[in-house]
């Protein structure tokens, strides 16, 4: 009944090399790992030749078992369909490969149960590190947090504690947009954000509001619209209905993500508004795609393409036992 699984092929192992070079497996292992002083130059040369001749590559599985840790790094991301996360995934993958690691990608669709399932599965895989992009609170995350496993949080801070973080200064970004609107002479600003916000969303909104207050706005003069939806596109579209349906129509809108801006814009078009013109929209994300499909959108540009390098640098610090608090990357605006 049950299929018997056959190995796909015989692998070239240390034993193969050892036999060919006429030495023991341990000697080859040490040379492979760069312990050149443990063998005479003649032996080293012989072994190196044999490695070359048979095309040996260390088997990561055997190594993982012995070391109790694989060369796999788990990236657990909330939603790959979001181009920003796709870019983070892509750049992290490239940086990890360069450093000799292999990335496992897990898409949680923002669901805590799925996040936990992945967290447990990855622990079983003996991964040597975790990259959590926009993590949600969950039991498994608390355990991970407590276990002290090498972890870097990206975009959203650790929702159940603290830990190394790579992102931008969200508060400052929100404030920058507020300044921009104020300097432009806008009178009726609005801000759109998801109802179930993350630390990032909250900070962007509060930075925006704080700066506007500083520049003379009263709280009720600022339109705040949260939207619901499983994607930020929906969030923006839903919030747009309320923004453009109220008594005051805003002349300037901050959307905390590109996708929200797309949703708001669609609603605006349906209502016959001109963007920009009747109303300016600014978003925070600024993926390159905007230049192609949303030239009407001005953005705070987050350097997602360099996130990967920062994330891997952070992991390497942690692996070396050094500390890594947070790395706030500069954004571009205007």
């Amino acid at each position: 009944m049950t299929m018997k699984r056959q190995p796909i092929r015989e692998y070239i192992s240390l034993a193969t090399v050892a036999a060919r070079a006429g030495v023991s497996v341990s000697t080859v292992s040490r040379i492979v790992n760069g312990e050149m002083r443990r063998a005479s130059p003649a032996t080293v040369a012989r072994v190196l030749d044999a490695i070359e001749a048979v095309g040996y590559r260390p088997n990561p599985v055997g190594r993982a078992l012995q070391r109790g840790q694989s060369q796999l790094v788990a990236m657990i991301a909330a939603n790959l369909d979001n181009p920003a996360m796709a870019t983070i995934a892509s750049s992290t993958e490239a940086a990890l490969r360069e450093a000799g690691y292999v990335m496992v990608l897990c898409d949680t669709h923002d669901r805590p149960e799925l996040q936990d399932e992945y967290l447990y599965a990855m622990r079983a895989q003996m991964v040597c590190g975790y990259v959590l992009v926009a993590a949600v609170p969950s039991r498994g995350l608390s355990e991970l947090s407590a276990s002290g496993a090498p972890t870097v949080f990206v975009s959203r801070r650790n929702p159940v504690g603290n830990g190394p973080f790579v992102g931008i200064d969200d508060c400052a970004a929100g404030a920058a947009v507020a300044d921009y609107f104020a300097n432009l002479g806008r009178r009726v600003p609005a801000v759109v954000f998801p109802r179930l916000g993350s630390s990032a969303s909250r900070d962007r909104v509060s930075g925006f509001l704080a700066k506007l207050r500083e520049r003379g706005w009263s709280d009720k003069a600022i339109i705040q619209a949260d939207g619901e939806g499983r994607s930020h596109l929906q969030v923006g579209y839903n919030a747009g209905a309320r923004i453009f349906g109220g008594s005051d129509t805003p002349d300037s809108i901050l959307c905390v993500s590109d996708q929200i801006a797309y949703g708001v814009n669609r609603r605006a078009l349906e209502r016959g508004l001109k963007i920009p013109g009747d109303c300016d929209i600014v978003s925070i994300d600024g993926t390159p795609l905007n230049q192609w499909v949303a030239p009407w959108l001005k953005s705070i540009e987050i350097p997602y393409a360099v996130y990967g390098a920062e994330i891997v640098a952070g992991l390497q610090l942690i692996w070396r036992g050094e500390s890594f608090g947070e790395r706030l990357l500069p954004y571009k605006f205007g």
Copy 2:
């Protein structure tokens, strides 16, 4: 100098369970693997309890080493920044997880050397299957092809042989667009495609051309523009310069991908053309994002979100030793 790596934690192994249940490791192993007849009901119950009590999960690394094959599936994709591929990656990841596998994601940026590097690295990881999305010809791919390892090609057919394929009927899709233009009474059709084409691009173009010929167009009456660029956005933008700069301006354009359409559209806007109106653009891809950011674009909609399920179904057929030629999924148009 060199850091000594410490295992993150002690893992709960078969030995832990065996000690607690008072049986041998082999007995536990057999029960974990569902061989219930090899032990008395009483023993089985005791072992199951122990498993529950200590929270045992099989270690995939040990298993992989013993079986000569891991539960990892390699997805090697040409360009994650393309939303279509991101959707394929996402849906495949979900389907694999459901089937108990773990996906490793590799982004080759369309570069053969990188594709080879990944192919070799994944072989060393003892992956149990390969999903190649938009593969490019390379030495390693030929070797993989020859080795008979379980492989599914997606979107683009195997460029160095043949093998299981998941995609759409590209030829028919191109023809459908041709019919659409003809029925609409368009006179000056154009087609835009990347200079370095894949089987998919070529088939879409040739299907389009063949149908137009069938409906009375001469070859020179059809504008064909190939574009260069590292992304399809660039391809479209570059080809757009030639299309809109020639003597004949087309009244209808087929772009073989969404991203090319974005590029063409940008060029059209720069030239002051109205889309649609002066010129219809139709693309092949039809990602959901279009509805939000490119309402001007009509598309053949490829069901990327269900690719994952088909890919995994294909892999499972292959693992079972059954054959799996190709699966052409239905697309939606209009």
